[in-house]
Amino acid sequence: MTSRLDPQPLEWLDRSETLSFEFEGKAFTGFAGDSISSALLASGQTLLGRSFKYHRPRGVVTLANHDVNALFQSSEEPNIRGDITPLTAGMSLTACNVNGSLEKDRDQIIGTLSRFLPVGFYYKTFHNPKKLFPMWERVIREKAGLGTIDTRWSVRRQAKTYGFCDLLVIGAGASGMQAALSAAEQGLDVVLVDENPQIGGSLDYQLVNEANAAPIRERLKAAVQNHANIRVLPAHLACGWYTDHYVPLLGPNGIIKMRARAVISATGVMEQPAVFRNNDLPGVMMASAAQRLIVRYAVKPGQRGVVLTANSEGYRAALDMVKAGVDVAAVIDMGSANSRGVWADEIRQQGIRVLEQHAVYEAKGKKRLTQIVAAPFDGHTCEPSKAFEIDADLLLMSVGWAPAAQLLYQAGGRLAYDSTLEQLLPQELPEGIFACGRLNGAFTLEQRLADGERAGAEAAVFLKDEALPAELAACRDREAHSHPWPIVDHPGGKNFIDFDEDLQLKDLVNAAKEGFDNIELMKRFSTVGMGPSQGKHANMNGIRVLAAVTGRSIDQTGSTTARPMFHPVPVQALAGRRFRPERLTAMHQWHLDNGARMMEAGAWLRPEYYLPTSETGVSDAAGAGNLSIREQAILREVQAVRTGLGLIDVSTLGKIEVMGPDAGKLLDGSYTMRMSNIKQDMTRYALMVDESGVIVDDGIAARVAEDRFYVSATTSHADATFRTLSRHIVEWGLDVRLVNRTGSLAAMNLAGPHARKLLAPLTDIDLSEENFPYLGFKEGNLCDVPVRLIRVGFVGELGYEIHLPVASAQRVWNTLMEQGAEYGIRPFGVEAQRVLRLEKGHIIVGQDTDGLTNPFEANMPWAVPLKSKPWFTGKPSLALLKARCQRTLRGFMLPKGYSGELPKECHLLIDSGDIAGRITSIAYSPSLGRYIGLAMVDQPLADSDRLYQVRVDSGALIPLEPCATPFYDAEGKRQTVDLTEVA
C-alpha cells in the first residue's frame, strides 16, 4: 500500500494548496507540485493503467517519462503522461485503451491468449481468404492506439520564440550545474535547461541522504540561479538536436528555439528494468522511481519491500527505503556484495538480509505485487529448484543504466560499450558537442563534479577556438554500475523487455530465429522500442538479448537510430502562432467596400469579381443559358470593358527597373525575343523560357531611355523573374542595375472604347495616336501624379495601364471612377480579365501552359527568333524542340446558342478513342455570343481539319469547331482608335 509521508526536505509539494480531481470516476486529492501519478499513489491507488496488447495491470515503473504505464485521457486531451504531468485542480481523468474500466478491463483475456499471439502474428494470418481481411483489420484497428481523439476539439496554438546562447547545457544535475558554472566563469553566455520543474536531478532524489552532498547541492543551486551569465530554464525539455546546434526547448508556455554555439549533454542515465516473470506488476519499480516518489512527492512506495540490485545504488536505495519507514525484507544482489561500498556495510549493520549471487525468478500478485520468488543466480540463469518466496508489496530494481544519449546520437556522436562499467559510453563526439556526468560514466559525486568541470572548461576552450585534446574518459568510474545480463528466463514467459509493446523475452528470441537477427530488422518485426517511450526502458535489454542470440558483441550488434523527439512534443507547441503573410494592394479597402469577392494570388489578395449589393437586374446576354450570380457579375464586367469602360487593379504585377550600359544585353539574353532594339517609348511582349525551353514567365518590356527599360512580370512569377535577372547579371558579368518596384508602384488598367476620352482631360500626356501609339509607353502626370502609361493589348480594347506611386493610387482610382461614371465605368476583376484576354486568344502562363510547355506548343513560334538572335536562354533547346512539336494550342468555338452539357477546362479531346489533347481555357464570350476556348491539341489532330471531340463529365463526346485566334477584333483595330472611328 502506498501513502503520503511527512514533509520531506527537498519535496516539490506546496502542502498549503490541496487540489481535488477525479480518476476513473472516483474523487481524489493531491497537493500543488504533485504529478497525477504521485497524487494517486499518495491516496493508495497503485493500479494506473492497462498494457497496450495484453491489457495487464500496470503501475509506476520509472516515474521518469521513460515508460507510458500511467497514460490518461481527459475530455480535452489524449495520452496524458501521469508520471510527469503536474496535477491541476478539477482534472477528470480516465485510463486509456481499456474495454470497460481500469479495474475491470474485458480485454484482459487477450493476455491469457498470448500463447496464440507470437511475435509478428498479424503478418502470419488474417490475409486469407482475402474477403475476410477487412473484417479482421477492423478488429485489429479497434484494438490499436491508446488515447481517443474528439474531432470536435478546437485548435490550440502556443507562441514560439527564438533563443540564443554560447553554450546550452542540457540537464541541471550535479555535473550539468558544475559544467554551466565552469563555462560561465570563463565569460560564456550559458543556458542551463532541465525537463523537470525543479533543478537538481539525481543530486536530489538519489543523494538526499548523503551527508556530503547537502552543502554541494546548496552551493551549486545558488550559484547557477544567481550567476549573471547563466539563464536557468527548469521545466524545459530539449526536444532534439538539429543541424548547427539548433535545440528546441519545450516549456510550459511554448517552445524556445535555442541556437547555441556548443552543447553539453549532462542528461544522465535511464535506469533499466530487470527481466523476470511478471516484472510488470504494479509495485515492481525502478529504485530511482521509489527515490523520486519519496524525495519529490513525499509518497511512501510500499509497506514491505525487497531490493534487487547489481550495483551500490541498490544498497543506497534500500537505506532510503528504511529511512522512509519501509520494512526492507531483503536485498538480493545478482553479484557479490563486497564491492558495493559503505551502503552495503550499513545495510548489514541494520541486520537486513543480503542474498548474494541471487536473482528474482518470478513476481506474484493479481493487480499488484504480493510476493517475490528469489533463487540462486550464476550470472546467467536461476536454479528454480532452490527458489524461495518473500512476501513484499514493493520490489525495487537497481540492475543497471542506459545512457540518455539520444541527442548525442542525433548530433552524430558514436558510443561504444565499456566492459568495466558494463555501459555504452561516448566514444567520438562531433565538433561543439560535449558530454559529462553519469552519461559519460562519472558515477560518484566527486567524479560527476570533476567531469562537469572538465566539460565546461572544454566547451569554453572550443568556443575560443583554442584546440584542446578531449580527455573524455578522465573522470569515469572504475566499477560496474550495470549488470551485463539482468535477464532471467522462465518457462511461463510474461518476462517483459518492452512494457509499451508488451514484448516478452521469447518474442525477441523468436524474431531473431526467424531471420530478423539485426537490430533494425528485430525492431521493425517485433516493434521493440517503437512504442511511445521509444525504447528508453527496452532498447538496452533488447540489444543484450540480440547480442546473446547471435553471439556478437554489444558494439557489433549496434543500436537503432535515435530520432527526435526525445519525448513526444505537443502539436500545439510545434505549430506555433499562425503566420500567413498577406499582401494587399493600395485599393484593397475600396475593393471590399465595393462588393469585391477577393481571391488569393500567391501572398496577394485580388478582386475576382464585384457584386455590389446595389446591383439589381443584369442584361441577360443571349445564348448564355442560365448563369449563376457570379457568372452574371463577370459578364457585366466584360460588357463594361467592351462597350464602355472598365478599371482593374493590376498592382500585383512584377515591376522591375533595368538600367545600365548592358541593360539591353541582359534582356536579350533573358527573354526569347530581341529587346535591345525596342524603340524609345515603345514596348514589346517579353517571353521567358528556362534552359530546357519551357515557358516560365511573360510580361511587357518598355524602353524608357537608351540604357533603361521597365519590365513587368506575372503576379505569381514576379519574385522568381527578378531573381533570375539578377543572377544573369552576375553570371554574364553585366554592368546593369535592377530595382524591384513591385511594392512601391501600384498599377491599374483602364480599358474600353472611352478610355482616351476619360484620360485626356486628366493628363498632360498627348494621347493622340501619333504621339502615343498602340504598345507605346509614356511618362507624365495624371491628376497631378507622376505616372507611366502603357498601351497594352491584353484585354483587347483601347486601354492604358497606369503605373503610379502606391501612395497616390487610391486618389487616382477614385477620380477615374468618378469621372468615368458618364461612360458606364465599372471595376472588373481577374475572372472578367480572363474572359476578355481569351476573346483575344492570349495565353495565361500556368493555365494554358504547364510545367513542360514550350513556345511552339503555345502556338507562339513568332516569339522564338532562332535565326535572328545569336543567343538567348533556352535557345539551343528550342532549336531542337521546333522540329519535334507534338502538340499545339488551338482556338475552338461551340455553336451559337449551344445549350448542351458544357465542357470544362481540362476535359480531354478524344480522337478515334485515344486522348488527343485537353481544353485549357473555356468561357462564354458575350462579344461573340457563344462559348470559346483554347485547347492543347496533339499534332496529328491539330494538323487535320477534323472537328475536335471533347469528353464531358457525362462521358458524352461534344464536337468543338476549331478556329483561328484571336476570336474577337482579329486586326486589333479596337485597341488603336476611339470607338467613334470604328463603325
Partner: protein
Amino acid sequence: MPWRLLKYGLKSSHNEPRFFPEAKPLKPHYDVVIIGGGGHGMACAYYLAKEHGITNVAVLEQGYIGGGNTGRNTTIVRSNYLTPEGVKFYDTSLKLFEDLSDDFDLNIFYSTRGHFTLAHTDSALRTMRWRAEVNKHHGIESEVVDRDFIAKEVPYMDLDCAGTHPVMGALYHAPGAVARHDAVAWGYARGAYNRGVEIHQKTRVTAIRTQGDKVTGVETDRGFVSCNKVVSMVAGSTPRITSMLGLETPIEIFPLQACVSEPVKPFMDTIVVSGSLHVYVSQSSRGEMVMGASMDPSVLHSTRSSFNFVEGLTDQMIDLFPFMSRMKVMRQWAGMSDITPDFAPIMGKTPIDGFYLDAGWGTWGFKATPVSGKTLAWTLANDRNHELIEPFRLSRFTDFELVGEKGAASVGH
C-alpha cells in the same frame, strides 16, 4: 481465431521457418547481381526466380533489408497519376499489390482507404480534373469531387482551412490504399530466398568492373563477384552507383521527411493529401498519424531530420484538422528522394551493356515496388526494355521526350 495461430499456440517450441538466409560468404559468380535490398530489389529477385527461372542471383544490400527508402515512405499505393504512361504503370502495380498477401502467404496489411488530393485554388482544381479525366480514360476509379462530398467522407476536416486557402474540391481516388512497407520487402525477400536467390546484407558495392562497355562484375567490401548483368535499385544512392561507371544522369538527391504522432484510437480511415499546403496524412494500423510534406528545397545526401519541417507541417495540418493540435509528434525521420526533371522514374537498359537502372523514384517509389520488380526482371531476362517502362528510358532526356508527370507539377504522395 485463424487456425494457423491456433496450431502455433498448441506447439511447444517456436520453429517458424526463417524469412531470410543466415549470413554466408559470396559465391564467385552470379548470373545477375541486384544492388539494393529494398522492396524493388527483392521484387526483382522474386520475379526473376518465379517468372523467368533465373535463380543464380545475389541481392547485395549495404545495410539491412528494407532499410533504405522502403522503410521510410508514406506507404501509399495509388494510380491516379497524370500521364497515360504513368497511369498504366502505376495501375499495373496497384493490381499486383492487391494479391501480394496471397502470393507471399504473408499479410502485408494492404488496406484500401480512398485517397483525397485537395485543391485549394482554381488552377489546382483544373489539374485535378485533368488527372481524373486521364485516369477515367484508362479505366481507373478517379474523379473530381466537391466540398459536400469531402465533408461527408471526411467530416472532421475544416474545409475553410482557418480562413486562408479554403478547399475548393479534390481528386478522389477510391482504390487509394496503404500497406505495411516492411512486410512488402520481407514478403518478396522470403519468396526470392525460398526460390534459391541469395540475399547478402551488410555488403556494400564499391566498384563495378567493365570490359569495354560490358559489365563483368562488382567489387564489394566482402570481395569481388563476377557477373554480366547488374541492376542498380538503390534509389537515394543511385548517383553513387552511376558515377562508378561515369554514367551521367539527371538525378539529384533531396531529403524527404516524415513524422508520426503518438498512437490514438483509429478515427481516420482515408488518406488526405494537399498539394498547395504540402501536407499529407493517413492513420497507420497501429493508430499513429503518419504525416509528411514535400521534399527539402536543397540537395543533401542525408536522412537527418530538420525542425522547420515539423513546424511547417504541423502549422498547416491543424488548419485542416484543428483537433490534431491536441496530439503529440512522437518521432520524425527522413528518406533520400532521387528526383528527375520530369518526376518520372528512369528504368531499363543504359549505354553500358549489362548494366540496368531502376531509379528516379522521388516520392512515388513504394507504390511502384511490384511493377518495377516485374518489369525489370522481364527486361533483365530479355535484355530489352519491357513496354511498360520504355517511356521511362534514360535516353528520353537526350531526345527531349520527357514524360509529362511534371506537367501539372502534381507532385503528390
